[in-house]
């Protein structure tokens, strides 16, 4: 399954020095810059990581969770609870 180009691009761009502030303070206006589907946009607004997970490169998802304030321990907890039944993105 192909991940979502613009969702990945959003996460990629949030790696910039002002990424955390953009995401925490200006989420809606940041989202306006990307032609995301309505479903993805809504999932981003409600922090629905389970919906976003299969649409995202795992390395970018890890970074995105950090931007959202989740350290490694919290990220592991969130990700392990995602019951995705899909082909694992492995090495």
């Amino acid at each position: 399954m192909q991940t979502d180009y613009w969702l990945n691009k959003l996460m990629f761009d949030l790696q910039g020095p002002d990424g955390k502030e953009l995401w925490s303070e200006h989420r809606e206006t940041t989202l306006d810059k990307y032609p995301l589907s309505l479903e993805i946009r809504e999932a981003l607004l409600r922090d629905d990581y389970e919906y976003l997970y299969p649409l995202t490169n795992p390395y970018l998802m890890r970074f995105f969770l950090l931007i959202c304030g989740h350290d490694d321990e919290a990220s592991i907890k969130i990700l392990s609870s995602i019951g995705v039944n899909r082909e694992k993105t492995n090495g």
Binding site: Y5, Y53, P58, M61, F63, D72, L79, S80, T89, G91
Partner: protein, 277 residues
Amino acid sequence: MAKLVGSFAAGHAPNIARSWDTMKPESRGWLTQHYHEMGRRLSALEPDVLVIHSTDHWVNFFLDNMPAFCVGIGEEHEGPPEPFMKPVFPHETLPGHASLGRHILDYALNNNFDPSYSRRLKLDHGMCVPIWCTGLDPIPPIIPVYMNLVEKPFPTPQRCLAWGHMLRESIESYPDDLRVVVMGTGGLSHSIGETTMGWIDEPFDMACIELFKSASDDKFATDLETMLERTGNGGAELRAWAVAHAVAGSQGFDLIGYAPMPDMLIGCGVAEWHMVA
């Protein structure tokens, strides 16, 4: 003529830099001991140039342009852009080696490889954590070779071995007297951003170590390809180790150290290959 004088590999977990001051003392002690040993061996070889292979961690490339191999041929490259690297490795730029970089690029293009190239790359933690941890001073000029190991499709292990063999020929056909060391960074097992994040696959790591010790290229490529389908996504970085393996002649290595390090999220390996003439 240039000479390949050494080949090494080491893990490059970002947490090594991110949590250096706060990690468990035994982790910091292990890392210090084993990376410094690698640095001691590397310095003793008096390298003029380092050719470092690593995956790009979404720093130089995105899905609009994702080269399997990209050779850095610039006179200099940018230091790591990640904020967590700045306190420990505050280099704004690092010297490249444009002439040997261009020679490797030309040699590759004339020998059935089609890498992309860049005259200015950002050297992310994948390249800079091992350089920093080994304590190299001064840092020799670097030819960075980025590989795509974060977003499928990846170069096959067989292709990475072939790249390593080609790289050896290219180095040894360079006309100036240079002492060259190759390094592969990343691995061993880890799982990043997956539902299995934090998983360290020790049986995978042990099996890889056995392959590096004694496997033929055919067995190595076949077995690694199969093993990578069953472990975490970070295992893909073993392809950079495969380059270090092949460039040395695929005749075994000295494992400087291995430790599963849950706080670094990796099975951490440090190794030096036996050099075959």
